[in-house]
Symmetry: C2
Subunit: 248 residues, 2 copies
């Protein structure tokens, strides 16, 4: 075991769409004291060079190799920034990193990992086009969509899942999902994300208790591929591998 | 007609999840010289008071009334910032604003509107949990999901729709969607969003030409409710009304 690995860490950073103005302050801060920069060339080139930052630009499209490289650098004590366009969690490097950890060594699970979200292409495009994405739905349309999303094996995110006006809907939604999806499907209740009272509950579709859900909770239900990674400190990561159907 | 309305404008701004560090530079800039601030109280309260900024905090949950208020202020020459948590295009104020314009006067369509995207709750929660959202898919899984998404009447966004390795997929995808969805369904090809060579093509499912799609293109296919708003300058907005089944 390498005694230095506690010093290293990995930050997976979303650069948003092309222009720097669409980056978050959080992403800028995460880049500010990184020692090593990893990513596909067009993304690495968006980051101005500076003393103390080693750029590992690569034309390697094999995300798992790039993730392994980041883990090796972190084990050497480096503060590694992996950069992606858009959001790093949407068809980008975050899932590849967790997949590498899932296939990796017990020591890999000791490395502090932080994911820094970015504006995804879907949200950026929608903003330029108008507002194609959002509307409120009556229950019959929600039920139709939940059924379709479950049958399509999508990862499902439920916004505004509970309100005084419709307290029963979240229970109906879980009943519907339990009729279609496996009991072991991972479920996350992420409450007040980005606020001081943030709280996450990780569970399974069989064991999830929808009564803890309120309007500040984002409910996420996994696909058949979504899985947990257990960490030595007793916490867990939730991720969906890049490679569909390729469980370790 | 009010001679001053060309001076006003509306900016719909995403504040992201709770903490300011998750806002974009773009959102900060859009707020910097606004004259009027409109939004649901908890979101307005996130913005520090300053001289020259009138705060119209409201506990009014009727988004269409709030949108109409913003339009009236813009007609008076105000630079109106409408703030939402998360992304303004996802279950938030952008769709309500365009719905108000769709129901509004011809003069409403002269007001400059800019949507400033924010980190949506889904991406923020995913970042905290690990990477539950993203994976690559073989064509049979893509086909299954496209069919489910079409049958669920979702708005569909296709990422990375064309590559040298799989040039046929985008044609197969449009063939599949045309078998299920109405020919008049709005389609947008948004290329290089946020870059200097950004380009949008707005069309219908019947008339869309997938051969113009490349890896820098985000493809968006509307739900049965998604519609265009024609502007006097010949351009169009694309939006999905907040109220499902309530076309003007």
């Amino acid at each position: 075991m390498n005694m230095s690995y506690h010093r290293g860490e990995i930050r997976v950073i979303g650069l948003g769409p092309g222009d720097h103005r669409f980056m978050t302050h959080d992403a800028d801060l995460a880049l500010a004291d990184a020692t090593d920069l990893i990513g596909y060339i067009p993304y690495v080139e968006r980051i101005p060079p500076r003393a103390g930052l080693i750029r590992h630009a690569t034309d390697n499209r094999v995300e798992l190799d790039r993730a392994r490289h980041a883990l090796d650098l972190a084990h050497q004590g480096k503060v590694v920034a992996i950069v992606s366009g858009g959001d790093p969690g949407v068809f980008a490097m975050a899932a590849a990193l967790f997949e590498a950890i899932d296939h990796g060594t017990p020591e890999d699970r000791l490395i502090p990992i932080n994911i820094h979200p970015g504006i995804s292409a879907m949200n950026a495009a929608a903003a330029k086009l108008g507002a194609p994405l959002g509307h409120d739905l009556p229950w019959d349309v929600i039920a139709r969509r939940l059924k379709a999303a479950a049958e399509g094996d999508f990862v499902i995110a439920l916004y505004n899942p509970a309100s005084k006006a419709r307290p029963q809907s979240i229970f109906d939604a879980f009943k519907l999902l339990r009729d279609i999806k496996a009991p072991s499907t991972p479920v996350a209740f992420a409450r007040a994300v980005g606020r001081h009272d943030e709280k996450h509950t990780l569970t399974s579709l069989a064991e999830a208790d929808p009564s803890i859900v309120d309007m500040a909770t984002l409910v996420m239900i996994g696909s058949s591929e979504t899985r947990f990674i257990d960490k030595p400190d007793g916490t867990r990561w939730l991720y969906t591998p890049r490679s569909y159907g390729a469980r370790p």
